[in-house]
């Protein structure tokens, strides 16, 4: 039986009908077309599917979609404001912290709250540049910290 699901996604109210056994990852990616939500391992290990749920980075592959009822979700597509990239996105581009780009959305969203994302894997193993980009963003946007 289908359920009604209402949530906010990247600032917009969204209402849809879903089957309860689907994950938040599947709904964001397949029903809402947010392809920045990546499916890597699908078992919580790689962090590629990281999205912000009520401000916290979570792995969307292990969250049941109906469990997101009433939540506010931010995906990588929701970070840019008025056509301008988020400073963390800018830093990743500037520092060349993106190789194939598969891990990048999850990495950037996890970096919003963590110094160095511990739960995100990069198959291209570009960890040094990723760390540099995150440090650079911290340095420029939070110089006092």
């Amino acid at each position: 039986m289908k359920l009604r699901l209402s949530m906010r996604v990247n600032g917009n109210a969204v209402e849809l009908e879903i089957e309860p056994h689907r994950t938040l990852l599947e709904v964001l990616r397949n029903d809402l077309g947010l392809a920045g939500v990546r499916e890597g391992c699908s078992t919580g290990d790689c962090g590629a599917c990281t999205v912000l749920v009520n401000g916290k980075p979570l792995v969307s592959c292990l969250m049941l979609a109906p469990d997101a009822e009433g939540a506010s979700i931010v995906t990588i597509e929701g970070l840019a404001k008025d056509g301008k990239l988020d400073p963390m996105q800018e830093a990743f581009v500037a520092k060349g912290a993106i190789q194939c780009g598969f891990c990048t959305p999850g990495m950037i969203l996890a970096a919003k709250t963590e110094d160095i994302p511990e739960g995100n894997l990069c198959r291209c193993t570009g960890y040094t540049k990723i760390q540099e980009a995150i440090r650079e963003e911290r340095r420029t946007t939070r110089p006092q910290a």
Partner: protein, 258 residues
């Protein structure tokens, strides 16, 4: 995952009634164990019953002379609790050894214990702290010491239809350490874990991943060696695990004594 029905009870009584219906059902807390098992098809389920909308099952509070941890408290909430950090830094240390920040923000304390993995990381420190589990069922409530809660891999003292509703920890401060031995630094299950805590002069020791359940043992290397019964698997051989028990228990006892 295969299709299943989904329920969101608002009260324990509603949850109990749902669990009493025929068919296979599973409770959902953080879902980090449940979803992985459903995806791997290790479990099949007709109905998933989400506990998150039941009030009063989440958070850490002091009442009377005990501290109560709601089973739905997430691991990061547990580690961020001042009550916990002040009395039992060992729990904070343990949580930081678990999963990733994303997983810690989803996983619950109750889920970790009810899943009853021999390697569940919260079990050894909570065994040292003499935690008691409060269990609710349609026939009433009861208390089960954590030492009697684990019956085997994936098996607990919970009867069908019962829900863990509170983890009670006696208030005494403890000085302790948790040593988790695994191949990688992050996101790995222990192949041996050791918790050691001194409550006043009383030294307590518990082991994870080296027996069918996490176990509390008398605080000496000899006792730990006698009680552990590790297995061979892809992560380590039984022989190696035994040696690591010897080394890590000696290390943990020394650390707590210093």
């Amino acid at each position: 995952m295969r299709a299943f029905a989904y329920e969101e009870p608002r009260t324990l009584a509603e949850a109990g009634a749902l669990m009493a219906r025929p068919g296979r059902n599973q409770l959902l807390a953080g879902g980090t164990d449940l979803l992985v098992r459903l995806k791997r098809r290790e479990w099949t389920v007709d109905t998933v019953i989400n506990l998150k909308r039941i009030a009063g099952l989440r958070g850490v509070e002091a009442r009377g002379d005990h501290v109560f941890v709601g089973p739905l408290t997430t691991l990061d909430e547990l580690a961020a609790s001042e009550l916990v950090a002040k009395r039992w830094p060992i729990l904070v240390e343990t949580v930081h050894e678990m999963g990733s920040p994303q997983v810690r923000a989803m996983s619950t304390a109750g889920g970790n214990l009810c899943n009853a993995s021999p390697a569940a990381d919260l079990a050894p420190p909570l065994l040292c702290l003499d935690a008691t589990m409060k269990v609710w069922g349609l026939r009433g409530e009861r208390h089960v010491p954590l030492r009697e809660f684990f019956l085997g891999p994936g098996k607990t003292a919970l009867e069908p239809g019962e829900i863990l509703t509170e983890i009670r920890i006696p208030p005494a401060l403890a000085k302790g350490c948790f040593i988790k031995f695994c191949t990688r630094r992050a996101m790995d299950l222990a192949f041996v874990s050791v918790a050691c805590a001194a409550v006043g002069k009383d030294v307590r020791l518990a082991l994870g991943a080296v027996a069918p359940t996490p176990i509390r043992v008398l605080p000496s290397v000899e006792e730990a060696m006698k009680r552990c019964a590790p297995i061979d698997d892809v992560r380590a051989s039984a022989e190696y695990r035994r040696e690591m028990v010897r080394v890590l228990v000696r290390r943990a006892l020394a650390r707590v004594a210093s």
